[in-house]
């Protein structure tokens, strides 16, 4: 397992460097707090940490997750029914750090729960519990001034997205504001495991690479070791969400096994 120093942007940079030294892409699983329940979600994250994943996208549930497909919709709905709040998700990160998890953790949330918590308060509290960055799918760079300012103060990553529909002007705009990495959405669509990745993926990545040196992390649709193997050549990192959430229905061990097979595919 990689040992990382620092936190925030520094920790994320160190994560990529370690993966680069091994000539592979970094693997960041997504997992929502509170699914199937609070304890089980922490156990799943801990189990994945043990098999050497590189970082985490920690999901905060939201009632109206409009970028998510059925798997994550159902899981986060269940998390809400389990009483999971933003505060509880922050406690989860703190608990995971106390259990000795060293990998960078980025908190993923839709905007409204963070606005309700208070932007400055949330970023500070997230930093204090040991989170390293934020991923907010409904916050384009045009609307992100306050978040960008507060994240910069705390040295936290603020992740923006690019999609296959993004034109050159938008790629430049996102690249200019990116802190940590750019989350590249592999397809036009919502989250969910897919059998095949889009055929024009390499062209799309090349289009982004032509505009920026910022590290790229690919997400949406990635679910199988064969997909993971492709990532080494293509991007600096990748995110797997729905497939792991689906595995969690079979228990922690199934999550760990899938994470392990995805991780092993990179070597």
């Amino acid at each position: 397992m990689t040992t990382l120093i620092g936190r925030g942007l520094q920790a994320i940079d160190a994560m990529f460097r370690a993966a680069e030294q091994a000539n592979r892409a970094a693997f960041l699983p997504y997992f929502p707090i509170g699914f199937p329940d609070y304890d089980a979600s922490l156990a799943a994250i801990e189990a994945m940490a043990q098999v050497g994943v590189d970082g985490f996208e920690i999901g905060i549930p939201f009632s109206d997750p409009l970028a998510d497909g059925p798997t994550i919709q159902a899981a986060t709905q269940r998390a809400l029914e389990n009483g999971i709040t933003v505060k509880r998700c922050l406690q989860a990160v703190k608990a995971l750090r106390q259990r000795g998890i060293k990998q960078p953790m980025l908190m993923m949330s839709y905007l409204n729960p963070l606005l309700a918590y208070g932007v400055e308060a949330f970023v500070k509290d997230a930093c204090n519990v040991g989170a390293d960055g934020l991923i907010i799918p409904d916050l384009p760079p045009e609307e992100a001034n306050l978040f960008a300012e507060v994240c910069a103060q705390e040295d936290m990553a603020l992740i923006f997205f690019l999609a296959p529909t993004s034109n050159q002007a938008r790629i430049r705009l996102v690249a200019k504001q990116a802190r940590g990495f750019i989350y590249v959405v592999s397809l036009t669509g919502i989250t969910g495991a897919r059998k095949d990745l889009p055929e024009d993926l390499a062209d799309f990545i090349a289009r982004v690479r032509a505009e920026t040196d910022t590290r790229l992390v690919l997400g949406f649709g990635i679910s199988q070791p064969e997909h993971a193997r492709m990532m080494n050549e293509l991007v600096d990192g990748f995110i797997v969400g729905s497939a792991l959430v689906r595995a969690a229905e079979q228990g922690t061990e199934a999550v760990q096994n899938l994470a392990q097979s995805l991780r092993a595919a990179l070597d």
Binding site: D64, Q73, T165
Partner: protein, 406 residues
Amino acid sequence: MTDYIKRNLTDLPDEWGYFGAFGGRFVPETLMPALDELIAAYQEAMADPAFHQELAHLQRTYTGRPTPVTYARRLSEHLGGAQIYLKREDLAHTGAHKINNALGQALLARRMGKKRIIAETGAGQHGVASATAAALLGLECHVYMGSVDIARQQPNVFRMKLLGADVIPVESGSKTLKDAINEAIRDWVTNVRTTFYLLGSALGPHPYPMMVRDFQSVIGVEARQQMLEEVGRLPDVCIACVGGGSNAIGLFHAFRDDGAVDLIGVEAGGHGVESKQHAARFADLSISRPGVLHGTRSYVMQNEDGQIMETHSISAGLDYPSVGPEHAYLREIERAYYTLATDGEALEAFQLLSELEGIIPALESSHAVAEAIKRAPQMSVDEIILVNLSGRGDKDLDTVIKALGE
């Protein structure tokens, strides 16, 4: 960045889609280029006389515009105060104001070369209007509708199917308008290259609140002129119901600079504010405050943790936890005022207007009528209230029979 050019029609929204602190574009990146494209296409269409001519021609020969203003003599006499006039959007083709916006956006979709239209619907009126516009222009149409709304608006579901649209039931969340919008946005994210999202109310990301307002502003433009012609002066009060707020903003817009005209929006009070079962975003600030839902910043009914709350109204079209950003702005600058009518008050208004005027209003519009019923007796006989009768009530008969039977 967009090459958005400020239009002369109005000062707001600003180039980022803001009405003061409300509005904006809070959507996944996949949709941002589509919104840029839509803004550009809309500006171009607005600058093209041929677009306006075609829309005006359809409004006249297809929708049946201008819709009349009717003096509600017996209702006014019964209430014994102000004179009540009704702007008859219920007489527009398909039975509600929704067709104004649906035709405008469908023409824009065709202009943009998009052959597939998606829409969300609550009461079904916007779904019917979209299906109608799609049939007229030969476009493919898919309508997302919450399964709760499908159950309470059966006639409209059947109408949409007759018009050749595909009605897709939404089973997530509260199974009402909010969830139908979520599902429509997910479809749009997936099929954005070929699909035009025909959003039905003055909400969502920029440019929708502006575009929907502009297409609906024909209501107020006509009504203002009709009042001047028929009564010789402007009304003292304009009243409209507010769900997302498209019929209200369509009425209010033409009167925005007439300082002497009070603009009143009526939200759905459901079982009453105390019950917490309502959709009164401006009335119940214990559970409603500025937030972001469906791409725009406005008042949003939410719990302490920022989770969106389920709403209740007897009228599906008002059953929505947020409200168009321009209404939030008009309220903040005190140009418009917002109040509510409960389910019970709307039902009474529904019956009273039917009995006294021979006009069966939509349950949504009945909320506006209810406010007129409250106000008129407190006003003098030479004062005038103009109510936007945004739709007809045939679609609501099942709901009303059930409610009155209980």
